[in-house]
Symmetry: C2
Subunit: 362 residues, 2 copies
């Protein structure tokens, strides 16, 4: 049996393991300690279901198992689609001891987790992420939610999974763009917290794009370790956890203005991180040589480093509704050196406007 | 200034006060320690808004205040109406530090609290209950949620308010049926936890129906004290809190089968409590004389003591989807003496079927 790595997200009574390895989907007994024979609903989508639903079902030997396939895509991460999951939970009569399993990428995980958080005021759920983005980021940490026409992830709940099962073999069928999008979120962890990981990234960009199994397992492991450490210290984002939003305030504005689906979330985060690096440089906080390294690595990972052409007013309005705006001040995560970033609203508003005017000119 | 009573719900860092008195709405400064000048959205309905919205707005002297009026009625306690509140929160650009104020009865409080629980993964909210049912029960304890076609309160969240402001003067305009419905939930507290309160109730039924201010303040105070004590010991209903569901498993089934709005929630709970008393008697657990006292007091409070005519199969199906069903076993709250009840699934299923067959025959 190929090796499996386990990382623990340390949240006291709600601590849970992240299981990482190649070929974990289908391995008998792996989920038994978490499901304990209880009734389960698997939530997946029309892309992932045909590939992996059978393998996941095969792992569950006790209890009633039902499933629902949702349409695929960020544009379906809505309250209306969440209602379909809730309907399925009622239809299949899951009780308070029922379990939801989210099989898919970030959209499926966020929505299924949110449905689990609000069904009967909260039932258990398990994350089975099948995209790199979900494996390195969205499946870990308990943020669940949906989009609102006014902004990304404006509605949701903190709800920690029972367990995260990341089978890196699923990445072999992932489209190239989605692979790069996932790498953007992993790179984010390096920029905010681990210069050595950034160095490693530079040396392994080619192996990662070639889907080398060892490199993929490593990148998932290290990103999860960093995220687990940050989340354990600040589960509800009163402080340090906000660092994980590097690139996201710019990135969300790009997604909202460009229209969901035009750019993948991870791609928008990639462009957002490049913008955060340049804005930090403009403030004199981030050295030009390091900005250049960030930009070069993003490009090596086939990620965008610029926002598409967007009107300044629309971009600012989209930033203003972003959740990270507190009391009217736009707070940004800005890198200071590779491996260290700060969350701050302490910059002149005029600087931000001037910066965006130049950036968005195209 | 008329006196104000304060009861504390003791939940550590999330403890909060319940302020009870006549004429509290409009009293300057009362909400300032909780709102602290932050932006607020008042959620009310088309019945309560014209009566009390102006008084509540007048209490808020700092920060931006906006409001939304929802349609009135249990049939509007839906995900779709919740979406209207979320839209208003986005439209008025409330940030993570914004506050929702729920001005109205249980439907408004449950829905506004749920919207606050999921907007930006949870923002603060204040309960300003204007019905007796909300003042003695639903505004206290942090249960928020909405109905699903498959069952009552099937979707929701635990989310404690910052403060509960109960002005008993609002009860002077309450329709008679709603007054009685609120008394049912207060009586529930007496039956599960306080025989003296039950005695007091028997002596004050007429004063309560005559809306004597002193009697109303007393009934709100004592019901809140009991609920606060139970909730403080078991916030998420892993044990003792389930006692507060006395009459609710039968009651919810009545509501679902009769159609929301046919019977008020409190009326259905009244009938449900009478049924629980009779079923407990059938099992030999509750003395006939005490069953008679419960029935007589319910009737003195102008509450129903029987379910309407409902088909047995439909009733059982509605009970089976109730949240209190765990792993397929129907758990019921059953009184043992006045002032003491138990939560149990330890009764022969055949007894329940036989009991319901006799009860529902009409």
């Amino acid at each position: 049996m190929p090796p499996m790595m386990t990382i623990t997200v340390d949240l006291g009574a709600r601590s849970y393991p992240i299981l990482i390895g190649s070929g974990l989907l289908g391995r008998a007994g792996l989920l038994d300690p978490h499901l304990r024979g209880r009734d389960a609903l698997i939530v997946t989508n029309t892309t992932v279901g045909p590939l992996y639903l059978g393998r996941l079902r095969g792992m569950i030997t006790k209890g009633r198992v039902s499933s629902i396939e949702l349409p695929d895509g960020e544009e379906h991460k809505t309250l209306a689609t969440t209602a379909l999951i809730l309907d399925a939970l009622v239809q299949h009569r899951l009780g308070r001891d029922g379990v939801v399993l989210a099989l898919g990428g970030g959209v499926v995980g966020d929505m299924a987790g949110f449905a689990a958080a609000i069904y009967q005021r909260g039932i258990d759920f398990v994350q089975v992420p099948t995209t790199l983005l979900a494996q390195v980021d969205s499946a870990v940490g308990g943020k669940t939610g949906i989009n609102h026409p006014g902004g990304k992830n404006l509605v949701g709940a903190f709800h920690q999974p029972l367990c995260v099962l990341s089978d890196s073999e699923t990445l072999q069928t992932l489209p190239d763009r989605e692979l790069s999008a996932g790498l953007a979120e992993a790179l984010k962890c390096a920029i905010i917290a681990d210069a050595h990981f950034f160095d490693w990234f530079e040396g392994h960009a080619a192996a990662l794009l070639a889907r080398d199994a060892g490199a993929l397992n490593q990148v998932i492991r290290r990103a999860c370790e960093i995220k687990a450490e940050v989340v354990a210290g600040d589960e509800r984002e009163h402080g340090r956890r906000a660092l994980l939003n590097l690139g996201h305030t710019f990135g969300h504005a790009i997604e909202v203005c460009a229209g969901y689906g035009t750019m993948l979330h991870g791609e928008a985060v990639g462009a957002g991180m490049a913008m955060a690096a340049r804005f930090s440089q403009r403030l004199g906080w981030f050295a030009p040589a390091e900005v250049a390294r960030v930009g070069a690595l993003l490009q090596a990972l086939r990620l965008p480093v610029k926002a598409p052409r967007i009107a300044l007013d629309a971009f600012l309005a989209a930033m203003a509704i972003d959740k990270k705006v507190l009391g009217g001040h736009i707070r940004l995560v800005l890198p200071r050196t590779i491996g260290h970033a700060v969350v701050t609203a302490e910059f002149p508003a005029g600087e931000l406007q001037g910066f965006l005017r130049a950036e968005l000119a195209g």
